[in-house]
């Protein structure tokens, strides 16, 4: 179980790094000679802020959309790890820790899907 979790984490990170690299090559190829400026905070446009926006911009073949998709995969990796732990504790019939793990999972999912609504 522990080993599966370790490999899951590693492959998640490698997959996301590969997607980020792929997006980076498109982005750099297109924008290499434009000036870089991060002095002023503007906030990202919605195509890089929401899951739906990121998917749409990947469909349009945008490099930065692909980078954001890679970063989303990276964020999903530890969440998948927690989800697997729910299964692990269920197999061990450890009700207390199934409960604890579900709480953690709920907080993570709220952050990823719910934080743009509400507060």
């Amino acid at each position: 179980m522990e080993l599966i979790l370790g490999n899951l984490l590693r492959s998640g990170v490698l997959l996301s790094a590969a997607v980020v690299l792929w997006g980076a090559s498109i982005y750099l190829f297109r924008h290499a000679h434009e000036p870089a400026n991060y002095r002023v905070f503007l906030g990202e446009p919605s195509e890089f802020r929401t899951i739906r926006g990121v998917i749409r911009s990947v469909m349009n073949g945008r490099g930065r959309g692909l980078i954001q998709l890679g970063l989303l995969l990276l964020i999903a990796t530890p969440i998948a790890r927690v989800a697997f732990s729910v299964v692990g504790f269920t197999i061990e019939r450890d009700r207390l820790y199934v409960g604890f793990t579900l709480i953690v999972l709920a907080i993570l999912l709220y952050s990823l899907f719910g934080s743009s609504i509400g507060v």
Partner: protein, 278 residues
Amino acid sequence: MTVLEFTAVVAVVSFVAGFLGSLTGLGGGVVLVPLLTLLFHVDIRYAIGASLVSVIATSSGAAAAYVKEGFSNIRIGMFLEIATTFGALLGAFLATRIPTSALASIFGLVLLYSAYLSRKPRPEAQRNLPPDPLATRLRLNGSFPDLEGPRKYNVQHVPTGFSLMFGAGALSGLLGIGSGAVKVLAMDQAMRIPFKVSTTTSNFMIGVTAAASAGVYLSRGYVDPGLAMPVMLGVLAGSLLGSRILVKAETKSLRLVFSLVILVLGLQMLYKGFWGKI
């Protein structure tokens, strides 16, 4: 600077930060935000977003190596993650509300504390502490492989550790760092978890904690693909290399240099934050 030059320089700096961070065990994220803001004049909110993403990458990348050795305690990790993820969510919401100068000042204080902690000797290894009733009920006690065979340990002061971990999570969400310094305070000093167990378990937890605030950062537009890309790839490559040669290298003097760097960066962040220059 053009996009190409900026990407290349940031990737190199992130690589060095990730390499030294994993070699010295002090973490790379803690120097990244000050370097990006002070050296490259990146707005601190973009810097925090990029650093947070790199924290997830290094934690998940390194955790794979640790689980095999049987040191990390998955129950301690999961139990404390309730505190850290909840704190991280709160920290991330706070970060979107408080002024950047306050963020910089808090960051400065955390850096100074990390520098101080890195010069302090680790608390002594626990031997035969009596089991704590709450820790027993939560099944937190465990054992780990030692030279003379498996060694048992009994976790202490669970409520104190739990509240400190909430603080660690809040700092992580607020500043986009792994906040290893506070975790040491909570797990080593309060809960008296053996050094090897606490280090590997906290590394396991850092990625989950960071993921809890990353969603908020992403949806608030703090994660810029053009900046996060070289930071994440650089730190990941650097820390993977660092963890490979960790065993062979003489890290004592390196640790001293790195903690001096942290000290200087901390003073600068405090100064700039205090005068409202960030």
